[in-house]
Symmetry: C2
């Protein structure tokens, strides 16, 4: 292919390292002679429709370093499903800007959008190499060992659970039960990471509940009572998406306003509800924390491995596009377990769409209230350094 331009966009929820991936793409695009200029679309595909693109290849090295240290999506994000008319607009824009390398950083939906644009272009005789680049803190994309973004968020989850453990331990005569609600679309990858800093039975977390198993309130209360009677306090971690046997979210609102003004069911915090139940049924004072979007943007707790890998998948995406690949998503592979070494590969982007990867059964204990060492062995190489707190 003759010298042409590259266009990149970011889509879906943010991560602390998605701009590392963007930097990797820019960095590689600058090195490749076949690429004249690299452009970025503002707010994903929506920005392209509005012709809101900016040039990225002119960024100074200083700005590039700053970009790598900035969380969230520096180009802006969106959640948008393209209509047929919009595909035509997109193709017009690509042709106008001589874009032959098209990269979208995102998850399942983004993979589909990438394929859709590429197929639309190909059917109309426009040569385009379209690559999807993975990112999600949820770690739920299939066909890869893990996702860029997970290691950083998992470090946040592990370290803040250690901190919450020290806080609850110190305050055990006042508020002995703490419930922490972490993200995780429909999987327990992040909740499970809370156990990575646990070194002794007294350390938090004491109980971990993932959405891969139905959540039973009586079982939960009995678990809490058991831990509390043993050590005098209890730190519980839940994934925000835990559901009961009927499949209803634990935070589902059953009275008052049950739907928001957009018609979506209102979900109260599952942690808030469980803290209330611990107080009303067990008569033990209970507090809850819901770090919310902090876990997808916190730069206070980092994973150097995750940063490096996120940067690398960006570079690799450009190389794949230049080699003529299209309609694929870059994947992260584990080439070696000890010492941990990663590699990269690819998978047809269409295969990613609509599939979520859950915690395998071997990562959750029999009782469904904690995770196993198999999970810890899997996750430990992906995260950053965890603190070692003192117990007097």
């Amino acid at each position: 292919m003759a010298r042409a331009n590259l266009l990149v966009g970011q889509s879906g929820g943010c991560t602390p390292v998605i701009n590392q991936t963007l930097s990797g793409i820019i960095d590689e695009a600058k090195r490749q002679k076949k690429i004249a200029r690299a452009y970025g679309m503002r707010n994903g595909i929506v920005g392209l429709l509005r012709d809101e693109c900016i040039e990225l290849s002119a960024l100074s090295e200083k700005k590039m370093q700053q970009l790598r240290r900035t969380p969230s999506s520096a180009l802006g994000s969106c959640r948008h499903k393209l209509s047929d008319e919009e595909c035509a607009i997109v193709l017009g824009m690509l042709a106008k800007k001589n874009i032959r390398y098209f990269l979208l950083i995102g998850g399942n939906d983004t993979a589909l959008t990438t394929v859709r644009i590429s197929e639309y272009a190909r059917a109309r005789g426009y040569e385009l190499n379209a690559i999807a680049v993975p990112k999600t803190i949820d770690n739920d994309l299939p066909f890869m060992d893990h996702t860029p973004g997970y290691g950083s968020a998992a470090t946040f989850v592990a370290a803040t659970t250690q901190e919450a453990g020290k806080d609850t331990e110190a305050m055990r005569l006042v508020d002995p039960v703490k419930i922490i609600e972490f993200m995780g679309r429909n999987s327990g990858w992040l909740a499970a990471a809370s156990a990575l800093g646990k070194r002794s039975r007294q350390d938090a977390p004491h109980l971990v509940y993932c959405p891969e198993r139905p959540f039973d309130i009586d079982g939960f209360l009995s678990d809490v009572e058991d831990v509390y009677s043993r050590i005098g306090y209890c730190v519980v971690v839940i994934a925000e998406t835990i559901r009961d046997k009927k499949g209803d979210r634990i935070g589902k609102r059953t009275s008052g306003i049950t739907r928001d003004s957009f018609g979506h069911p209102y979900l109260d915090s599952a942690a808030a509800r469980l803290a209330e139940l611990v107080e009303s049924r067990l008569h033990i004072r209970s507090r809850y924390d819901k770090p919310g979007s902090l876990q997808r943007m916190s730069m206070g707790y980092g994973s150097a491995v995750d940063e490096r890998e996120a940067f690398s998948v960006g570079k690799q995406a450009v190389r794949y596009a230049l080699k003529g690949y299209s309609d694929v998503m870059v994947t992260l592979e584990r080439r070696s377990k000890k010492p941990y070494r990663f590699g990269m590969g690819m998978v047809p982007a269409r295969k990613i769409a609509g599939i979520e990867k859950y915690l395998p059964a071997s990562y959750i204990n029999k009782k469904g209230n904690f995770i196993t060492t198999a999970f810890l062995d899997y996750a430990r190489p992906l995260i950053g350094a965890l603190p070692d707190f003192i117990r007097l």
Copy 2:
């Protein structure tokens, strides 16, 4: 006074640097020849009543370093008001252990407990030098420039607001309004700190509401609409204790279960309620974050100034006790504004009790929806380095 022992305890809510103060006390106690041994009571005064004390002067330098890097109260905390009978037990314990230097790290209530024990001892002819040592992330203790613990929590608040700003800016086509609820017993010191990292009009926060001013819902909605129409997204910071004109907390629950099983009124998150209002009245999608106890224990965002000061007040408390002072609380003073230089002093502990220090009127703008540069000038020297994020 002849060679005797020192006893220290921690009380009330934790901070990221309260163990720095504990380390300062141990460090100074080791250096002072008049002090034979330093003991720590587990869970504050409750531990002393139960004779649960541990020796601290034997801690190795390595353990001391680890202690300084551990958040929360390593000795454990409590909230306990002493009865007369308990004062007698306390005195018995002090005599048994030959304690003549008695230090409690805490806030208002702790200051009172210190005085109560010291007066009880003195009335019975037992010589005791009792010193209260300040700590609180809330910064609401009177007669001092600021409190140990505030600088670290303020750094957390400022940096995570910057991060939330980048996240909301990136997601503005999806969830353009973000409401963040920070702690602050009855004051806006922490909420105000959210503005410390703001460098331009586009940067978060765009609105800051403190409990020092009555909160008006219509005014709030109009403020949000205004910011949103101007820049396309809006990050609002509130103190968890904001109240309406009648003095009711914004998060006060008015239907369903309104009191917990301990009889305390149930408070839902004010941020959750405001996010609902933004959706139902302005029809703008809104999310909220409530970092909760994370802000009082996060080691991911530190203030070296706060760490150093917290260590110093611990050392100073020991020196005051040895000089024969009693019934005082150590204070932090600002000896020089530019360059910032702190000093220490003392105030009668009894004067601290029951007084909360609020944001002065000059620190809040006329509309009551943001803070002033006077506040920023006050707070900036107290916090750690803040990130400098890129905007493409």
